[in-house]
Symmetry: C2
Subunit: 696 residues, 2 copies
């Protein structure tokens, strides 16, 4: 069994390639035929193309038989085969394209071609509607190029690394964890030889904990199992951290280091004071940013899922750490996403459970209402854009996965052919980020809130400065030093109090200078003070969306083939994100029909509905197949009756049913359908149109 | 006169700063008062703020008197003062913010804050509607990180430079042309001493031609006039070219050079073959891209106009070089933008003229219909977003400004406080870009078009290879060499024919190897062949929009103060781009009014109309002033009558008139107003609401 598998896989691979070639050649023939009709190709070209198609089909047939006799199954049940089938359509219809292809491409970079770009635009516009507008968020746009100091404060300069090993002969770079995982997996598969039970157990354990190994442990494990460089089989170096940020230099002098931001969030944090001011000084509020982020991955793979430049949509919700309730929580409390809590992950069954978010909060499974509210809104968003709810789960971070400062984290994971993929991270990051920037930039990042119950007497630390003593030592600097001491933050006063008491050396900073302070100069003492409110550094709850990942999963979830015709693929895109909302077909390629079709298309375009006109001479069935393939939800056909009574037929991609609608109403109706009106309600309002066969 | 100017300028500068401080403090007082009402601030805070406002006002008064007695005029007539007034509002209301401000900012980087970001989004969405949707363009999205080979082919690696000089002591960098211009300008201003007529003339001439100087000429001129480094007055180096691209490294090895793209266009060019395929192999078609571009400017200044990271919206229209007519030309032929042709620029008056685009093409002022069509569409676009047509001109490049390959170039220039600013470049770039990539990548970048009149007999060059002779010399490579010779492009066959005839050495490339070819091996001869069409590299017509620059000019063109109240500023943003479409006001800060206002706002938000609710206790006049200041076009007020008959008042920002509208209709009406319905038509449909004073 183990020896026949690779053969089958390679046969199946051949099959996919052969299938793709047939589909592509079929398209070529179809378009050449259309060109022939318009006298833009000659007959010899068409005949040659048909001949080639025949050969390709024969070769495909042969391969199919070969595969079936070897494996006893058809290929569509296979994850990789499914992925390749989707990919074939996506690439052929230019949803995405490896970037710089004419120069041999560069791993980890993709272009969105016309339908992909349109879909992505619709996606981000809908995100903006769902989050920014409906939640009254403050959206900002910050540069990608970021000076080092910002990313030093955030920790990215020091810690945003992957462990890397190099091939000692060729210098090729590899991710250390990937190599170890592959080697362990091979051992489990019995290569080079079967393991005994004890060995198996050890390998299993190590494989499960690879992500938690530190640099030394990972290096030791690689040595222990004698892992070599892939392909060359050369020795590898010990692992070392490689920073994943793209580095550059700002300005002509070459001495100001900059990086391409690895996330959009920092742009929001550094603007916190402005945003708080813009919100009238009040909490809570949320800010958002949609933009490009950059990660110089060591060896990008997994197509659109792990790329070096990608679009993020991030939200930072700022709130009082003692008030994480959410006023709109009830609106999502009854939603029931699949939750994969810490407890369920540690349980025997390891199965997520559908649970009302209200219950999850009241049972303290989710830390607070605000985090749960965003889980709910994210759930609704993902469903609206076409993610299958059965293949979507919210997985809570285990204790060892969370940063020390985080209060609670959940990932929206979507299942696709690559397994469960993290598409959205939702984290309660406490006040970590604001504090980090407050310290580094010496900027006040606190908010003020009055006590709900009026004023309170509280204990505060006061610096009683002996001005004469300070003046004696520091002369003209005395005044500034006194002021600096008096305005020290509470925490620093406490430190100084302790240090002075312990006889340790103390100092105070004025501008760029530091001055030593003695116990004779200042006394730190506690006093009662009447306060009407308090200052605090707000907590941050951060939902962070990987736009490309969600879109990729959506591609897979929306992909299907027409029942009874496995070769006719389509995308069931939701109308709100579909790249093209409607195709307009003149039933015949004659001027009367074409002109009318153009007029209808212009109407739709004017309403902001992306529309294409397909006036090639192909049969209506073939033309339907063509727009199905890029997921156009509605088709409008101009037929003989149109010329008589100014009505057109509108076809629904998913049900393939049609209704007849007056041209005067078609703009408003399609606008409603795109916004979410159901096709069923259309069928009740308008007469059904019995169509010719859909697949002729 | 010359000596009093700087003093006045500095007085005026003080005035602007003082005015800004007053305005800002006024806002602080207003928001504190609101907080007091909501018990979120205490009385002492408000009193202290009012006291400070009083002091600031007194100081402003003093400065105003000082300035007027010194200059005899008020400051608003002054370009810099106007710019500062606009900038004060823009920065205070967070339209934009210097990036990384808490770390001291970095020159040339700006963030768009909430209203700026919303406006920019609306701007690009409208661009998409006006160009991509209405012209059926193919939109793509490509990465910013670009491998060196692409920008080597485009010429950016070798030629995208500015000339720089360094301060020989401090190492500070300066743009050589800027230093020379400033020095020459100072000479004309009589510093250090007045010039005689002949000297003046020489300086004038040099100043007019600074942009055309090469590196040696510029260096000589700097030496001749003894130009020193600004501020330090140190000697400067000779000028040298500095490449303006941000450099980085792709992947972990560190040996793959990449740059941040300096323009979005290259992403389209490298995808040309895919896009042509996607368009069914037919020309003409246009592709578009909106995205970030990066230029590491030597010393960025002029605020939003010259930044290091900016958004471009570029179109590449591909067409047959022999067919540059445009099918929709008639739709813009009667538009009359101000054209500043080459001839007008060289004329005595140097004034642009309003001219119908149809006439401009028929008189050969604009090279072709397609270029003129895009000038027309650009003109309409700029007017729709709020650019003043009287301050917009299309200036043709003079012969010395154009690249050698360009057929014709026009810039849309907009006048603002910085002078005439290039906002859109419209160029017929012939086949330059596609040819450059075809050569570098060895990819066919041609399109095929059948002859309109059927087949033709044409002369072609044929390589008749003596296979025996080739085989004798090259053995097993003979076959590949024969094929390579037979498939040489027409041009190379012609070259080889000439070289062989002249007895020059010839060679052919197969894979990576080159092989010498002798006259004995091949004979290149002319033959007649029947062809049904021809292959050619398409021409490119490129409209390229600088989004930030247009937006900045729009800010200035839309800025105004209320008649009779110079302190109340507003932006007359067109509703389609306005950051917020409507503010909803509960007349009183009471729950019944506030709840109703929230309900109306939710209705508007659901229709995609960005809406804010201002339920602070401030007077309605003050609240109007606040939303005027960020250019909200419409205000909806919930008043007593609302509670009785479910109607609200809708106020038009520009006329300050109001109508009364049923709540049930307000969503549809505002949607129409945003899309372009006139306020006058609203006034005809709905009863006027006589409002309380707008400025109480």
């Amino acid at each position: 069994m183990a020896t026949t598998l690779p053969d089958n896989a390679s046969l199946e691979q051949d099959l996919v390639v052969a299938q793709a070639a047939v589909t592509k050649q079929g398209d070529t023939v179809r378009s050449l035929k259309a060109s022939l009709k318009e006298k833009k190709a000659d007959k010899a070209q068409v005949e040659a193309a048909i001949e080639q198609l025949k050969n390709l089909k024969a070769s495909l047939d042969l391969k199919q038989k070969e595969f079936q006799s070897a494996s006893g199954k058809t290929s569509s049940t296979n994850r990789e085969a499914f992925r390749d089938a989707v990919k074939t359509v996506l690439e052929r219809r230019l949803f995405y394209i490896p970037s710089f292809e004419i120069y041999g491409s560069v791993a980890g970079f993709y272009d969105y071609g016309p339908p992909g770009c349109a879909l992505k635009q619709n996606f981000t516009q809908f995100w903006r509607q769902h989050f920014v507008l409906e939640e009254s968020m403050l959206e900002v746009e910050c540069p990608a190029v970021t000076p080092e100091v910002v990313l030093k404060a955030s920790g990215h300069v020091d810690r945003f690394t992957d462990l890397m090993v190099t091939d000692v002969v060729t210098g090729d770079c590899h991710r250390a964890d990937h190599l170890l995982e592959a080697a362990l997996q091979a051992l489990l598969d019995g290569k080079p030889k079967p393991l005994d039970t004890q060995e198996r157990q050890a390998v299993h354990h190590l494989l499960a904990t690879v992500e938690e190994l530190n640099v030394k442990q990972l290096g030791d494990a690689l040595e222990q199992y004698g892992v070599k460089a892939p392909e060359t089989n050369n020795d590898i170096s010990r692992p070392f951290p490689f920073n994943l940020m793209f580095k550059t230099s700002i300005g002509p002098r070459g001495d100001q280091v900059g990086y391409l931001r690895p996330e959009t969030a920092q742009g929001i944090f550094v603007n916190f004071r402005h945003l708080l001011y813009s919100n009238g000084g009040k909490l809570p509020f949320a800010a958002a940013q949609i933009g490009q982020s950059f990660r110089n991955e060591i060896s990008p793979r997994a197509g659109l899922l792990r790329v070096r430049e990608f679009t993020q949509a991030e939200i930072e919700h700022f709130c009082n750490p003692d008030a994480k309730d959410h006023p709109k929580f009830q609106s999502i409390a009854r939603e029931q996403p699949l939750l994969f809590s810490r407890a369920l992950q540690m349980s025997e069954e390891k199965q997520p459970q559908a649970m009302q978010l209200g219950d999850a909060v009241s049972q303290s499974i989710i830390a607070n209402q605000t985090l749960a509210y965003f889980i709910g809104r994210t759930y609704l968003f993902l469903l609206r854009v076409g993610i299958n709810p059965k293949r979507l789960r919210f997985r809570q971070h285990l204790a060892n996965e969370m940063a020390h400062y985080a209060e609670d984290c959940w990932d929206a994971e979507v299942e696709c052919s690559y397994g469960w993929v993290e598409c959205v991270g939702l984290a309660d990051r406490s006040a970590y980020d604001l504090r980090a920037h407050a310290t580094k930039s010496k900027t006040d990042m606190s908010a003020y809130e009055p006590f709900p119950d009026g004023s309170r007497m509280v204990d505060v630390l006061v610096a009683a400065v002996d001005k004469r003593e300070v003046g004696k030592t520091y002369k003209k600097d005395g005044k500034a030093i006194t002021e600096a001491l008096e305005s020290l933050p509470e925490e620093e006063k406490a430190c100084m109090q302790a240090d002075l008491a312990a006889g340790k050396p103390c100092k105070v900073t004025v501008g760029d200078a530091e001055f030593a302070i003695t116990a004779a100069m200042v006394q730190i003492k506690q006093e009662k003070k009447k306060l009407t409110g308090r200052n605090f550094v707000p907590s941050v709850i951060e939902p962070s969306f990987g736009v490309g990942r969600i879109i990729y999963c959506m591609f897979e979830h929306c992909y299907a083939t027409r029942k009874g015709d496995e070769k006719r693929s389509l995308f069931h895109f939701k109308p709100i994100v579909a790249p093209v909302k409607a195709t307009v077909f003149p039933l015949f390629a004659q001027p009367t029909f074409i002109d009318q079709a153009q007029a209808v298309a212009a109407l739709l375009t004017a309403a902001g509905l992306s529309t294409i006109v397909d006036s090639t001479g192909a049969s209506i069935g073939k033309r339907y197949a063509r727009t199905d393939e890029i997921g156009v939800p509605f088709a409008v056909t101009v037929d003989h009756q149109t010329l008589e009574d100014s009505t057109v037929t509108v076809r629904d991609r998913d049900s393939t049913t049609q209704v007849r609608v007056p041209i005067a109403e078609v703009q408003a109706l399609l606008t409603e359908l795109v916004k979410g009106r159901t096709w069923e309600s259309m069928q009740q309002q308008y007469p059904t149109h019995a169509s010719a066969a859909d697949d002729n």
